[in-house]
Symmetry: C2
Subunit: 281 residues, 2 copies
């Protein structure tokens, strides 16, 4: 087990994602815990994960975790709906470092928010195929009705800046993917992929104001804060924390595309690492 | 140099792509030269290449070539607009094995077809950023006017089956990407990515019947036939050739998605290989 001493509390929080979507989680971590140091790894040389097989996703996720662990972090967040779904309940996925995905945090928030027990879940093909959200929901609330749908075009749309709620392509794709969920009268919809908050406004407009949207990345950030607080592992730093970004493709592409996810300019240093180094570790 | 003896002519033709798009080239090879053996590798564990940096694409392409070379093929085709553009004119990219990308074949066909010297080029972000098609066109025809545009959503659209010419999303995305090209009165349009022939009908309808569409993968197949004929290296087999497919992600996903590109069921065996094995070679 990790050493939960006072010193450990000053270690960084490690966050990884297939690409840039996990930055929506980092953004929330920075809001909630501004004094924490954060290490972020976005595997942009192999993004997306959501269209790949379970075995390939697990292999990539293990390599990502090993890379993040090389920084001696106090906690690791898989800020990626696909990885979280495929890994499932493996609490020890990062060995002796506390680990969470986004599924359990999002599901806890959804179960607390629903009134009628009807919950929608959207995510990548691999996420929906895994059934991970549905299983986790029924663990908390056996009678819940879960309606899932894979929104395979949302990630490319977000990555290509096609996100405006008045854009006809955005409206049309949202209707195709969400109509089967809306007609089931859900009152909560889990955005089960960390790219999707960028489409929040457009999705909210389509679903209507009676449907509460749950952002899986933001919930993972809150969950992390509570978990660290419970273990007495929040940083006692008084100055602002430092965020360091690592990317497996070019630094320039990362910087150019990150601002849509982080909501502002990146405040930390970006370093490119070679995926071959990760694999050979 | 390779051994251009009679025996060499019975070796297979090697074809690779980032994923499934290169199958549009395989389909043409099978039509033109039904008795040739073909080895196809689709790097589905790392698809797409077109959104990545030049360095990462080159690294992946080198690994792909090394894998294909392990089969002792008589010729290698990079049936991928992105790889072909980034590699550029490196004829020795596969060492002593004759090598072609899709750029030169497509450009030769475009220059032969144009009457007014105004040529449109569409491809991935990396392809358009490279300027490879424009440079190759001006090498043949200095006065040509080349209008390029990156159609970054076409690959995800094709991979998600959003290709029907009457689909409002297809119509709208084609208009966004092709309007700047159509208004320049091109009379030839190069489909510079091997995914794009799947959108052929919709693109043809938008561009109008006076614009000739050039499919880069099909042109690479014709180019290969001519090149092999010129070197006296066409197979003299009388029975049908064998096509063997290799994929870096799951065999099942490959088989499920391939038919859109090959126009029929796959007639050959699919084998999954590990990308780690390629890298460590």
């Amino acid at each position: 087990m990790a050493d939960f001493s006072v010193q450990s509390s000053e270690k960084a929080i490690g966050v990884f994602d297939s690409g840039l979507g996990g930055l929506t989680c980092v953004s929330e971590l920075m809001k909630l815990m501004p004094s924490e140091n954060i290490i972020y790894f976005g595997d942009t040389a192999r993004v997306p994960y959501g269209t790949r097989s379970k075995e390939t996703i697990l292999e990539y996720a293990r390599q990502d975790v090993n890379f993040i662990k090389s920084f001696d972090v106090k906690m690791i967040i898989a800020a990626c709906g696909t990885v979280s779904s495929v890994v499932g309940k493996q609490k020890d996925f990062a060995g002796d470092v506390p680990f969470t995905g986004v599924v359990i945090p999002a599901v806890q928030a959804a179960c607390a928010a629903t009134r009628n027990g009807r919950i929608g879940v959207i995510g990548t093909a691999a996420t929906i195929r895994s059934g991970a959200y549905g299983k986790a929901i029924r663990n908390i609330r056996q009678d819940a009705v879960v309606i899932g749908n894979a929104c395979t075009m949302f990630v490319p749309m977000v990555e290509n800046g096609i996100t405006d709620k008045n854009d006809i392509v955005v409206k049309e794709m949202i209707k195709r993917y969400l109509e089967p969920i809306r007609r089931e009268n859900v009152d909560v919809l889990i955005l089960g992929c960390t790219h999707y908050p960028i489409l929040h406004e457009a999705i909210a407009e389509y679903m209507g104001e009676d449907v509460r949207l749950i952002s899986s990345g933001a919930e993972a950030a809150k969950f992390t804060m509570n978990m660290l607080a419970g273990k007495n592992m929040l940083s006692e730093r008084t100055e602002s924390g430092k965020v360091s970004y690592y990317t497996s493709d070019s630094k320039e592409l990362f910087e150019a595309n990150a601002h849509a996810f982080i909501g502002s300019r990146l405040m930390g240093e970006v370093t490119q690492i070679s995926i071959d180094d990760i694999i050979q570790k």
